[in-house]
Symmetry: C2
Subunit: 439 residues, 2 copies
């Protein structure tokens, strides 16, 4: 990436480091904003090619979001599921990583404004900044009901859950009994289901060491506004998930709309619930960077893209992952990891095709299916590729395990996470349940 | 532990859980404040005995402080060196853990005031709340120059170091060059030496992925006020440590007094130093709880104790670890982990002796020696027990490795830390260099 001032373009060490003599006309500058699944997979496609790639992210690390809930429940540690972006792409001479905030995008002049005032020019832009929580206009609920998108979110949830356990144990020692512990998860999509299941499973393990706590006074409630959980799944799997959640003690409240969240209280259309900890898994909205392209966005802020994942009229801009609104067979493809991986890979490939003078192909989403884990030996999976199968319970759980370890980035992570899961599974033991403070 | 209100003493589940019929006259209530090496070892002595033990700590975890600097430099993760106290003592029916702050100690009426207003009675008190950083009256230096006593401190230092690297890499990409990176460690005791050595070693590893950074412009400086580092070690080892630090590129400034610390600047008697990150390892002071006993304290706030580690006239109060001022052969025993372990073990044993009607023995500190690691295959060790030896370099480093793994708490930690060290050592790779924000 070359800054648009003369001295910078002369001395950019990235270009100096690029293999072979620099042909200013032939090499394309690709700017990737966002180091999630989409951005990372786009970069990996362009690794060791003639493109000059820069990845910009606010954080220094890629987060394996599908396992964040296991950090929240202390089965895994942050280092198990997060890796510095520069370590992942570190071997490629043509990829640079920049930890920075983006303040603006000018897609007419092909440049990006960073928060420190610098400007970066690009030939291609891949915008993949994902989504964040949406509180449906009630942003005041956010401090009370954290969502789960970042490592910091996971550690915040962990701190709230364990602090509640510590407080209850203290009550027991000092007063002989404790107030009920109500963990309320709002939203019955995959995140909510996994979080509620993991909490219920973990609470039983925690109680081994929090010996004063009355397990019957520790409840996990899952609140869903519509009549089924996992709405995107076949009815059979939704029903199975509901049944499996009940087996591990999660109380699922269907057809229940949250009307207000206050400290210690969740108000719903069917009554008020005392709440020890409230977790938000009900809605997401797109990253605000989508708007900066100036084109059409949908009601959640996702950028409308054409068959090549370009906003109309901007063939050198790709929007990928949760930020893209792409329709196939008349409906929007889902905002999940596999979509982001496929979109990022596709964008990288199209840039390569351009550079080679080949024609672009339209993006085609291959739906491999969905899976959600519910607890120890409990899961649902709707496998669509490479074969079709609807499985539940143990077999679904093992498939989930296998796929999630396979997709973890880095040998160390795969190895340590497998070890940690075995440790939890065989020994019925949790990982280090550390409460780390704000610091 | 029984709260001094009638309903609590009737229903305390800890007592209900205690094995055998409760004999109100025979069982002694032992209150341990602080879950560090001293408190934990006292508790382990009293495990599964007739004593009713409660450990109080502000944090939910025990921290293996000798390895904190490896969390700061991202070789290890917090979970590798910290374990919830209740998980460590979880198997013992007679030990309860209370996460709470202590506001006051009344050693006349034998009770402790918690921050929530509760009172706890005790028959024996073990006070082992350790030490914290001392800025010698310059508390305004604290936010600029963090010390290293807690997991939060280690993560803060890590954040500062990696944020500095990220900023320098950004400068290179945008402007073609970066300002010098000066990491300044103040204090040439074991903590300062280990931190400076680990930083110098790690910086070389980091530069593999921060490819724009000019290694010659990344310096680690160690400032010491007196003419030698590791003042408590034999001259030969101090000299060897100095030499080994130089070999890995640490610039040691002896006879240098810090006169002021400002953002980006350390002022000394021999001139001002530009500072990217400043780390404080120069002084410690005792925890403020020592004063609450009302007896004599030394100038650092340590409680003067007699041959039984009791403050004079208080045979049911033991002060252990860094908080105790205990003299043997005319000099104060050092504030290190082995002292704390021996003192805690001793206190537990004396309480057992009392309960069995046996006479107490005076405390005798067995100095097993000291060791400090400096870098990969670099260390100094002054072994005094079970044999005497003064060793340096590789052999000292392997001894250090062995001892530190042995003393880590918990099988998982030992295993994962060994794995992590092998990973770093064989592969020249660091652990996950995550920058996690304040949250």
């Amino acid at each position: 990436m070359i800054m648009n001032t003369p001295q910078a373009s002369q001395s950019s060490p990235l270009i100096n480091r690029a293999p072979g003599p620099l042909k200013a006309t032939g090499r394309k500058r690709v700017l990737i904003i966002g180091g999630g699944f989409a951005g990372l997979n786009a970069a990996l496609q362009l690794k060791n090619t003639d493109a000059i790639v820069t990845i910009i992210d606010r954080k220094n690390h890629h987060t394996f979001q599908p396992l964040l809930y296991q950090v929240a429940t202390a089965t895994l540690t942050p280092a198990d599921i997060a890796q510095p972006i520069r370590n992942i792409v570190g071997q490629a001479d043509n990829i640079a990583v920049l930890m920075s905030e983006v303040n603006g995008i000018d897609s007419r002049t092909n440049c990006v404004h960073l928060s420190d005032g610098s400007l970066l020019d690009y030939d291609y832009l891949i915008l993949a900044t994902g989504a964040t929580h949406s509180y449906f206009g009630h942003d005041e609920w956010q401090p009370i009901a954290p969502g789960l998108k970042t490592v910091e979110d996971a550690l915040k949830i962990r701190r709230q859950v364990f602090t509640a356990f510590e407080a209850a144990e203290r009550e027991v020692l000092l007063r002989g009994h404790h107030k009920p512990l109500n963990f309320i998860v709002i939203g019955g999509g995959p995140t909510g289901v996994e979080l509620a299941g993991a909490l219920a499973d973990s609470c039983r393990l925690y109680c081994k060491n929090f010996r004063g706590i009355d397990a019957s006074k520790s409840r996990v409630l899952l609140i869903e506004a519509i009549p089924k959980i996992l709405a995107a799944y076949p009815d059979k799997l939704s029903a199975s998930a509901l049944e499996q959640l009940k087996q591990i003690g999660v109380e699922v409240m269907l057809n229940t709309q949250v009307t207000a969240i206050e400290p210690g209280l969740v108000r719903t259309n069917i009554g008020d619930l005392d709440a020890t900890v409230v977790l938000w898994a009900a809605g997401v909205k797109a990253s605000p960077l989508g708007k900066m392209l100036g084109g059409e966005i949908d009601k959640r802020g996702c950028v409308m893209v054409d068959a090549n994942l370009n906003p109309p009229g901007k063939p050198n801009v790709f929007v990928c992952g949760d930020l893209a609104h792409f329709e196939q067979d008349g409906k929007q493809v889902p905002g999940v990891a596999q979509t982001a991986i496929q979109m990022g890979t596709y964008a990288g490939q199209q840039i390569l095709a351009d550079m080679r003078g080949q024609a672009r192909k339209p993006f085609c989403y291959r739906d491999k299916g969905d899976m959600a884990t519910i607890g120890r030996m409990k899961a649902v999976a709707n496998i669509k590729w490479p074969f079709k199968a609807v499985i539940t319970g143990g077999p679904a759980w093992f498939s989930w395990l296998l796929i999630h370890v396979m997709f973890l980035v880095g040998f160390r992570n795969r190895f340590v996470v497998t070890l940690q899961w075995l440790w939890t599974f065989l020994g019925h033991k949790q990982g280090a349940q550390l409460i780390t403070d704000k610091n």
